[in-house]
């Protein structure tokens, strides 16, 4: 009973803190850092469904993020297309590319699916550099305008922060609800017992394409918001490293959970910015954390896989179960 109470109150509290933050601080740097957290959360929501629930790995989600970012950059650069329409277009385009990619990958699983998405990611990285007419090549696109919603121009870091986080919260709530509904149950059934899922009358192929397209669309949405938040896009942002970091968030957070990956996403995204967030930290510790960021993430991931395969969510689950003393 208490567990359910915590499960209801904790997210509400978190949302209140997120929304109240602009009232207590005007720290521009803090807003920028937290905006990155919010953007990653949107991608992680989709990946948690795809990888955490349906068991389909993707090492190419940075590319969908990039598709979203470049689409918005290209469409809104000279104010040609309104921000909202460009953002929707970016989301739909990323989802469509995801759908098209998922169709031939239907038969692939595990490592092979990982390799195929990796290949896609590499192709897109080259495309982002070489399609200069659209992407601006190595220089990327600059001067992407701030989001404009009707008469309101969202041109402050605090405003962008709120826009991104409200979007992230909506996406997370929808994802959390989805896994409890009929299609969400089918999604979880896909993981591990595909034959059983087929025997239950679940069209597993269609479901896999749908969830891949959905997660690609969410990555595209995050990329679109990124482009108009930051104001420029360059190809290095959408590298394999980012894709791997996203997968690491799901692994650390725990599969079959939304809350776990959310916690891991917040932690891993903030790691490079510890110096600004915890002011008292000694200089050596900060430089160590920043220099070894990728290594720390890697070692933590190995430790999690070895000793706590359920991730953060699994640890919390076993702790509360022990606490319930059932």
């Amino acid at each position: 009973m208490s567990r359910r109470l915590v499960g209801t109150i904790a997210p509400v509290l978190a949302v209140m803190v997120v929304l109240a933050l602009p009232l207590v601080t005007t720290d521009r740097y803090l807003f920028k850092v937290l905006t990155f957290v919010g953007l990653n959360l949107i991608v992680v929501a989709g990946l948690a469904l795809l990888f955490g629930y349906a068991g389909q790995i993707s090492l190419g989600h940075a590319a969908f993020f990039g598709i979203g970012a470049y689409t918005v950059g290209y469409l809104t650069a000279d104010g040609a297309v309104p921000w909202l329409i460009a953002t929707l277009a970016a989301t739909v385009l990323a989802a469509l590319v995801g759908f098209t990619l998922a169709l031939p990958m239907l038969r692939l699983k595990g490592h092979y699916l990982g390799m195929a998405t990796l290949g896609f990611s590499e192709i897109m990285t080259v495309l982002f550099v070489e399609a200069r007419g659209i992407t601006g090549g190595n220089d990327g696109l600059r001067g992407i305008p701030y989001p404009v919603l009707g008469p309101f121009k969202i041109a402050t870091p605090g405003g962008v922060y709120l826009l991104v986080w409200i979007t992230a919260i909506i996406v997370l709530v929808l994802a959390g609800n989805l896994v409890r509904t009929r299609p969400g149950r089918a999604l979880r059934a896909l993981h591990g017992a595909e034959l059983g899922a087929q025997a239950c009358g679940i069209d597993t192929g269609r479901l896999r394409v749908q969830v891949f397209a959905l997660s690609a669309g969410l990555a595209g949405l995050a990329g679109a918001l990124y482009a108009s938040s930051v104001g420029y896009v360059s190809p290095t942002t959408f590298s394999l490293e980012f894709s791997v970091l996203l997968v690491a968030m799901i692994v650390l957070g725990g599969t079959g959970s939304i809350a776990g990956p959310v916690a891991a996403c917040v932690g891993l995204t903030l790691l490079p910015y510890v110096d600004a967030l915890i002011p008292g930290l000694p200089r050596e510790a900060v430089s160590f954390l920043q220099d070894w960021e990728a290594d720390i993430a890697g070692i933590v991931m190995i430790l999690v896989l070895l000793f706590a395969p359920g991730g953060v969510a699994g640890l919390i689950r076993s702790m509360t179960r022990a606490g319930d003393s059932r």
Binding site: R182, G192, L195, A199, C200
Partner: protein, 243 residues
């Protein structure tokens, strides 16, 4: 034969180019258990998988209630009233018993009917009601087999395909499960039962088919097969003088 619920006619099935089943035919009427017996690797499970839509036959027809359903995907067949209990049960281990049953009713929208059927499978297998909130993986082997059958029943099938339901289970549990199968048959369900334990299968079936090397080599009523010397010798393990 208008009262045939399921009619399999001259089915060829293989994996890739390797043929496994050749020209297999069988009929199942309402309220009848038809068993397929035979040694390991004789093609029983392959035939069943093809009927369930998991493998595409290279020749022949599967007729369900007079409609040609050959090569339809499993999810379409479930909607048409054909349910499959795979070998090894293929349950959703981390999910609860009630979630497994809810997934069995995945193709159905009418909540009231689903609730009725849930009450029905709970009446057939009371242990599943006791274990409703427990992850399926934590059930005993017998309970898991019951859950697999119950999950299939949640799609309200007219015909039920069972692949080796007795495998690895204690005699007492097998008796319980086959008691339920008899009851379902009496209610009008058609059942195709693939079994290694020919003795058990022929005691509960009305008709039987013997498979050897991918072919149906013998067909008849369960009593005929049980009385046949070859069947008695090879599949029932009855030697001269035994009885």
């Amino acid at each position: 034969m208008p009262d045939q619920l399921l009619s399999v006619q001259g089915l060829d099935v293989g994996y890739g180019r390797v043929p496994v089943v050749r020209a297999a035919s069988l009929d199942v009427a309402c309220g009848e258990i038809v068993t397929i017996i035979g040694a390991n690797g004789s093609g029983k499970s392959t035939l069943l998988k093809a009927v369930a839509g998991l493998l595409r036959p290279s020749a022949g027809h599967v007729m369900l209630d007079g409609e040609d359903v050959t090569g339809l995907a499993p999810e379409r067949l479930v909607r048409k009233g054909l349910a499959f209990v795979p070998e090894g049960r293929m349950l959703f281990g981390p999910m609860s018993v009630s979630e497994n049953l809810a997934l069995g009713a995945h193709t159905r929208r009418a909540a009231a009917e689903v609730a009725t059927d849930l009450a029905r499978v709970h009446a057939l297998f009371p242990v599943l009601a006791d274990r409703a909130g427990q992850p399926a993986a934590t059930l005993s082997g017998g309970e898991q087999q019951m859950l697999a059958i119950a999950r299939a029943l949640m799609s309200r099938p007219r015909i039920l395909l069972l692949d080796e339901p007795s495998l690895g289970l204690a005699p007492k549990v097998i008796a319980d499960i086959f008691g339920v199968l008899d009851a379902l048959r009496a209610e009008g369900l058609g059942i195709v039962l693939v079994e290694q334990d020919a003795n058990l299968a022929l005691r509960h079936a009305q008709h039987g088919h013997v498979m050897r090397s991918g072919r149906v080599v013998m067909s008849g009523t369960a009593a005929e097969l049980a009385g046949n010397d070859d069947v008695r010798l090879i599949y029932l393990g009855v030697w001269h003088g035994d009885e």
